[in-house]
Symmetry: C2
Subunit: 375 residues, 2 copies
């Protein structure tokens, strides 16, 4: 029995296509996958996780128990991971990106708005965020085409391939059970709705973003591609990773985290062409996913099965823990020097970015992507 | 044969539920509707327009011809409009809101950023916009619950019902045929993808919006509800409404409108509790829907069946043509005085907002909503 982060205590979910072109929902176990349709053909019909996600916590717990038993009893044949290709495992409904790292938000503020306070006025009061393009979400391993867009250089506006392409290391939360329209989700109830987590790379074209962003926020600088890991780790596998994330000052009552805390002690690692360039810790995030969900629904909005909300760039207090090139190179002014002697202000064509994370014996599914030249 | 804006030259599409609870896709004709499943049971299976929209322009044109013939020949029994209830006619994929009225953008700039130029730096270069919550879209007639959210009053932040609830009169564009991922849609090809238009009310809580909006743009101040009309007018019915919308300075080549212009000469009317409070003209918009679509896809993003993009508030040069209370009352400083002597800085509970529009003999389906008290 193999392990390496994907042992019997983990069991993340995804969807894959085999060599014959058949798609099926799967659980990853070591270097193999289990075809979930063998366990429950109806729940996993269609080769995706949509029905399973919609089932809610009782279904998630029951299936996790059944999968564990089946693997222990070696009840079904397993399929080698290398023989299948991952695909998006569920239909993405709405996608929201938060901005929940104080270190990232303060660094971005210092870079983009040097004449204003580093943190926006509402930042410590609520986890601010924005809606992104749901159809931009693509599975790990998908090549990322360098986007073109309008940028301003020396007072001239041009439509050109982005010259400031960046990654952002983030953690995404996948909503399973919908919430009731009009009723805010309490932080204590977050785990009734959030099924699990996966790593996310919020690819960002800083030059496009910079020109377009006032006053309506990120738009085409983000919407060209957002990669998510192939494997979704259920929250039930992360009980040992929970930590408190206290806020100072305390937020208003509806945003205070519950007695069961929703911070997660995950150690991220960002590799650029195989070389580690950043090691942010998710425990350093200011806002928890329960607070993000409570805020998201505090105006009466409800969440649906397949909603994804992401943390925003995960950055820690140390310069080696910054989760994007914007911060790592301080907006391109302090290039990274890689092991081969080359420098990076921003991503080059052909660069491969891989984000991984672990917590104790659990390794989250990696999210990777290679930059292709502009069209 | 009745007409009043819904004659044989119009024939907008929707979905309705009858007294027996059966949902069907329908065309509105005068004060009746035609059950489209009688025409093509397969194309309109499920009681919605999704397959029909995905079919693209050849299918839209063929069905429009067949519907016209069937109505002329009185081939099928019609169903009285008053006996059915409209529902959302298609599954909303991604939702984008633009900011394409120069008058609105300049007024908003003067109000919110008095120390900066009225128009943001990129405004004349590209139709800027932001992604919104797709699941917030609801059909005309749905009550609108006043949202609660964080607002700052006198340096104190509170979570309270919005006291600055507003409407925004907009026109929405419904995407039928998807575009190819990675390939920008040329303005000349817009009508291969955009099926039709409907009125949209982008309800906005100005106090929530104001506190949250820096630096990521509108979020919870908008995401609680967005109403769209029940009836989608095909672009094929609006050939007579087309006008040029020249930009000065000319935009970059990929955003220049095609020889067939995509401006639309529609006359909007906003009524508050039955009283006309604004009459914006859509011909005054700066950017056309073809330019919005070209911009939206200029970074490689593709659009899907069910994508909706909206114009942003439609405001004209005259103060009586301002499409939201923010402008009409100049951020609450110049209240509207209604016929009953009451004043409105912002919407009161019980207020009904109705937005209608016409072009020649065609009346767009109205979008209405009544404000309910906060939860």
């Amino acid at each position: 029995m193999t392990d390496a982060g994907f042992g019997i205590d983990h069991l993340p979910y995804g969807a894959v296509v085999d060599a014959q072109g058949r798609q099926f929902a799967a659980v990853r176990f070591g270097d193999d996958v289990l075809d979930l349709s063998q366990l429950d053909a109806e729940l996993f019909a269609g080769g995706g996780l949509d029905r399973f996600l919609a089932g809610g916590h009782p279904v998630w717990r029951e299936v996790r128990g059944a999968v564990t038993d089946a693997l222990r009893a070696e009840r079904f044949p397993l399929v080698p991971l290398h023989s299948v290709r991952p695909v998006l495992a569920f239909e993405v409904a709405d996608y929201v990106d938060f901005y929940a790292s104080e270190h990232h938000a303060a660094n971005a503020g210092r870079i983009f708005r040097p004449d204003s306070p580093a943190l926006p006025p509402s930042w410590r009061h609520q986890p601010i965020g924005y809606y992104g393009r749901a159809s931009a979400l693509c599975v790990s391993g998908t090549d990322i085409r360098r986007p073109s867009g309008q940028v301003r250089v020396d007072d001239t506006v041009r439509y050109v391939p982005s010259e400031r392409l960046d990654f952002e290391a983030e953690l995404a939360f996948v909503v399973g059970a919908p919430s009731t329209p009009g009723e805010p989700v309490r932080t204590a109830d977050a785990d009734e709705h959030v099924f699990g987590v996966c790593l996310l790379n919020d690819w960002s074209a800083r030059d496009i973003q910079r020109f377009e962003t006032v006053p309506l926020g990120p738009f085409l600088g983000k919407s060209f591609a957002t990669s998510i890991a192939a494997w979704i780790t259920p929250l039930d596998a992360l009980a040992g990773a929970r930590v408190a994330s206290p806020q100072d000052p305390a937020p208003l009552p509806h945003l205070q985290d519950s007695a069961t805390p929703h911070g997660l002690d995950l150690h991220l690692e960002v590799r650029l062409n195989g070389e580690v360039v950043s090691t942010p810790g998710f425990a350093d995030m200011y806002w928890t996913y329960a607070q993000m969900l409570a805020h998201l629904t505090s105006n009466g909005s409800s969440v649906r099965t397949g909603d994804v909300f992401a943390s925003g760039t995960v950055s820690g207090p140390d310069p080696a823990q910054r989760g994007c090139l914007l911060e790592l190179t301080w907006n391109g002014t302090q290039p990274l020097v890689l092991g081969d002697g080359s420098q990076r202000e921003w991503l080059h064509d052909g660069d491969v970015v891989a984000i991984s994370a672990h917590s104790g014996s659990i390794a989250l599914g990696e999210v990777t992507g290679r930059i292709r030249a502009a069209r």
